[in-house]
């Protein structure tokens, strides 16, 4: 067992964890932050994506002990985030979710695309999304939602 101290959703957290515990399990089982979903635990499906020091990572293949000192943000910690707020509305408008299981990971990746690549075209958006699997929607509504938010932000940026 190993002590760690980190920041989760803006709050300091200290815990003693097994070295083998991955960040996803730590968030879900220790902190009861269940927005982060575990879809494969193989680092492929992207459902468990969270932000570590501002960068999207798959929490199922990052050890909690490796996050000692890190700033971790889950979907629960982005309720008031401006981009996530826009994405929520756009995802609903474009029917970008059905069962909702991949959705939290999609939201994290979508936020990253919108903020890091504001001008990405559809092809690039799809490439950036390729690390997040969805079995329900066929991705159409998700891609449309991201493009919609990109456009909203672009037109606001361009406004006088």
């Amino acid at each position: 067992m190993k002590p760690i101290r980190l920041t989760v959703n803006g709050k300091p957290v200290s815990a003693v964890v097994e070295p083998r515990q991955h960040l996803g399990d730590f968030l879900r089982e220790h902190l009861l932050l269940t927005a982060t979903h575990l879809g494969c635990e193989q680092g492929v499906c992207g459902a468990c994506t969270v932000l570590v020091d501002g960068v999207p990572v798959r929490s199922c293949i990052v050890y909690a002990v490796a996050c000692d000192g890190a700033d971790v943000r889950t979907l629960e910690g982005l309720e008031e985030d401006e981009v996530v707020t826009q994405l929520r509305a756009a995802m609903s408008r474009h029917h970008g979710l059905q069962c909702g299981f991949c959705t939290p990971g999609m939201m994290m990746t979508a936020r990253d695309i919108v903020t890091r690549l504001p001008d990405a075209d559809e092809k690039r958006v799809r490439e950036e999304l390729s690390g997040n699997l969805c079995r329900c929607t066929g991705y159409v509504g998700i891609v449309d939602a991201i493009r919609d938010v990109q456009e909203q932000r672009k037109s606001r940026r361009g406004a006088p």
Binding site: A35, E41, L75, R88, H95, Q98, G100, S130, G138, Y139
Partner: protein, 798 residues
């Protein structure tokens, strides 16, 4: 979605834009978008411990000694510990059906890789897994039957010794004299086709959390299920409990597609364990378990002879079909469902005179098959639609034109086909013609003649199908299964403040039923959708239902909600008329009010207050049942709705690498009246993308030892965002004459037509090389093999 032909407004007759036909955003979205959904894995109960299963690493063996680490015997449970649990036994009443019991934990033999042998309990999932790893199980391996051909060889190892063979069911259907037609037909084609075994792979796997509620004297099972009431029935039967002492809750469910439409052995195990240990226990399937122990669908083999005239008019269709059913029969559908459906399904939407089908459900040392979105239909569509294209090639005509000549014409509707299916309406040829235009087939032909500068080959392909959805009593009764769709029920109740609660026994796991059923209630009563709560997924709170599968929920559940709301409207009308001082016949319920023709009205909220708070003002003949009503529904004709569609695809193939790229995809669809067109489109597109997976990517290969050869999403490939082409969808709307509002079942549709359309497009592209793909997924390796084979056949150097 730009081509949607439907107007983006309310249905005619709906006073607001929330009723049938409205493209309403979903009520369930907000909680899911905030990560506040509640899936089984998100639920923790005090004192809960976790379970890991030890699963067989071999496909066929006698289970010997199981060594359990010292001091841990009380945390390990093996088959003989569950002696009071009956093995799962699911029997169909079909002639010749053979039954086999499936122990929920192996007792003496294992019949497939991944079969559960022991369950291990730990404080955490990791500790339970540690214990599972520490068990040593002795397996004495037996000969493995890894495919249907081997299973049917004389002298093949028998999975179930008393059967005498490996045939779970043989189902024959003969109409007309196929042999006589074959002798005289000018054109005959032969095909041998194969579809791969797949993993349905909902993003959330199975999960079960069981606990004994001593206050209610009841077993409470949270499970990720499409069919909570059927799970309760199965648990009652195999655990020997009364149904009233079991409550099954399917909370938020992360996708189903059929994977969660059965009673899983693990559900029985975990429920038993909770009763045994008297504390909550939970098992969460991991992805490796889901892929290796859950590769349970789609594997069909077809041998086809078809006979036609010189124009390609189909004269006779002669099919032998083998379905790889795996080792046992799942509850409640059995392993015979697909093979049993194929004979009546294979003629599809075409009108022809002679037909013969021999279909077999064959047992092998693989996971028992479970009905996956479309069930046998995607395979049947591949068999039929690849045959139509083969006939078109043989007679030198456009495949779409051959389809037009063979389809049931609109003037013949409604139409009873060669196997007695009752097509409920529509214009099939018009759909094909629109799809031909949608992908600009003429343009594709010009482009093919010109050739591509990058050397790729272009091809266009079509598939037309109709989907029998929401099949009812008359069709299911003859199967003699542990379920039969009868009247579907919904319970509605008006609260004292006028809020409406709608409870249904079907289960929503992505279909948006919390929204579309509220739209139906709104259509009838006019209560605003945000004042309607839809309750589902809990046997304690909802009427019995066989659940959500078979494209039935909107027809049956929606119909039941409409009936219940109308019955409630009648009670509201009597109270409202009395309050208005007019005869009951002078009022109507609409727009959230009980109103007279001349504009006087009381609101439904006010009627609720009268019933609950001022009963002294109620009419003397008020219905004492009050403002809670259970309504039941069965379609006027329950032979099923027939949505239909044409899928049209353009592909490009690199003949050097075998890579297939989808360049264009158009769907022309008649889903009847769409309660929420946005949700319908989402179902069609999502299903189509699963079909793209079937056509091009998804395959669980098995070694000759019966070993599944993929165990992660890196080697079992689901379509990602980059694999999905731009898609255009056009709706037409032929209301079903037999259902409430004219709705038709549509949930499975997309997955049915896409594999056949894509394979036909590939074969169209390969036509100049004389190569044909007859197997899916059409991986680069298979495309190259088909090209090589054609070149070898032509005697040219490879």
């Amino acid at each position: 979605m730009s081509d949607s032909a439907r107007a983006d407004d309310g249905h005619a007759g709906s006073p607001t834009k929330q009723g049938v036909g409205a493209r309403l955003e979903r009520k369930e979205d907000d909680r899911l978008l905030r990560g506040r959904g509640q899936y089984v894995g998100d639920i923790r109960l005090p004192g809960m411990r976790e379970v890991a299963f030890v699963r067989s690493p071999v496909a066929h063996a006698v289970v010997g000694r199981i060594d359990i680490p010292d001091g841990r015997r009380s945390d390990v449970f093996v088959g003989r510990d569950l002696a009071d649990v009956e093995p799962i036994l699911c029997v169909a009443g079909l002639p010749g059906f053979k039954a086999a019991s499936q122990p929920v934990l192996a007792v003496d033999r294992v019949l497939h890789v991944g079969m559960a042998v022991a369950m291990c309990v730990g404080d955490t999932r990791a500790q339970a897994e540690d214990l599972a790893e520490a068990l040593a199980v002795d397996y004495r391996e037996l000969d493995v039957v890894h495919d249907v051909r081997k299973a049917r060889e004389p002298g093949a190892t028998l999975l179930h010794g008393s059967w005498g063979d490996n045939l779970l069911l043989t189902s024959d259907l003969v109409v007309g004299d196929v042999d006589a037609v074959a002798r005289s037909a000018p054109v005959s084609v032969e095909l041998e086709l194969r579809t791969a075994r797949q993993c349905m792979s909902p993003m959330e796997g199975r999960g079960v959390l069981a606990a004994w509620d001593s206050r209610m004297d009841q077993l409470v099972v949270h499970t990720s299920s499409q069919v909570p009431h059927l799970v309760r029935a199965g648990l009652a039967r195999f655990l020997g409990l009364e149904e009233g002492r079991i409550r099954v809750i399917a909370p938020d469910v992360g996708g189903g597609f059929g994977y969660k439409s059965i009673l899983a052995p693990e559900e029985v195990c975990i429920a038993w364990l909770a009763m045994k240990l008297r504390h909550p226990v939970r098992w969460l399937e991991d992805r490796r378990e889901q892929l290796t122990a859950g590769a349970n669908c789609r594997e069909h083999h077809y041998r086809i002879r078809a006979h036609a005239d010189r124009a390609g008019r189909l004269l006779a269709f002669d099919v032998e079909a083998d379905v790889d059913s795996g080792a046992y029969s799942v509850y409640p559908f059995t392993g015979a469902l697909e093979a049993g459906q194929l004979p009546s399904m294979l003629p599809g939407p075409y009108d022809f005179g002679s037909y013969r089908c021999r279909s077999r459900a064959v047992v092998t040392n693989k996971v028992p098959i479970v009905p996956y979105r479309g069930v046998a239909r995607p395979g049947a569509c591949i068999a039929l639609e690849l045959t139509i294209d083969a006939i078109a090639r043989a007679v030198g005509r456009e495949p779409y034109a051959v389809r037009l000549d063979n389809l049931v014409p609109p003037q013949a509707m409604p139409f009873d086909n060669i196997t007695g299916k009752h097509f409920d309406g529509g214009d099939y040829p018009a759909s094909v013609r629109r799809a031909v235009d949608a992908i600009d087939l003429a343009g594709v032909r010009v482009r093919q003649a010109r050739g591509e500068s990058d050397g790729r080959l272009i091809g266009a392909g079509f598939a037309f199908f109709n989907e029998q959805g929401s099949v009812g009593t008359s069709a299911y009764a003859k199967w003699g299964l542990p379920l039969c769709p009868g009247h579907e029920q919904a319970k509605v109740r008006l609260m004292p403040d006028g809020m409406l609660e709608v409870a249904v026994g079907i289960q929503s796991h992505g279909q948006g039923l919390e929204t579309s059923l509220a739209q139906i209630a709104h259509e009838v009563l006019g209560v605003p959708v945000d004042r309607i709560r839809v309750v589902h997924g809990d046997t304690a709170l909802t009427p019995y239902s066989i659940g959500t599968w078979g494209s039935r929920s909107m027809v049956m559940g929606g119909g039941a909600v409409a009936r219940a709301c109308r019955a409630l409207a009648g009670r509201l009308a009597r109270i409202g008329a009395h309050a208005l001082g007019v005869p009951e016949g002078a009022v109507r319920v609409r727009g959230g009010e009980v109103a007279t023709g001349d504009g006087r009205a009381v609101t439904i909220d006010e009627v609720a207050r009268l019933w609950y708070l001022r009963p002294q003002e109620l009419p003397p003949d008020v219905d004492p049942g009050g403002l809670e009503v259970t309504g039941g529904y069965r379609a006027a004709r329950d032979s099923g709705t027939f949505s239909y569609a044409t899928h049209a695809v353009v592909v490009a193939i690199d003949p050097e690498t075998g890579q297939v790229e989808i360049l264009d995809y158009a769907i022309d669809e008649d889903a009847g009246v769409c309660v929420n067109p946005m949700i319908v489109e989402g179902q069609i597109v999502g299903g189509t993308v699963q079909g793209i997976g079937t056509a091009l990517y998804e395959e669980m290969a098995f070694s000759e030892e019966g070993q599944p050869l993929a165990s992660t999403f890196l080697d079992y490939i689901l379509p990602g965002a980059t694999e999905v082409p731009p898609m255009r969808l056009a709706h037409v709307e032929t209301p079903s004459p037999y259902t409430e509002f004219g709705v038709k079942g549509i949930g499975e549709s997309g997955a049915i037509g896409s594999p056949a359309a894509i394979l036909n497009a590939i074969n169209d592209a390969l036509k100049p090389l004389g190569a044909v793909i007859a197997e899916c997924p059409a991986t680069p390796r298979r495309v190259l093999a088909a090209i090589d084979e054609a070149r070898n056949r032509a005697g040219r150097p490879v």
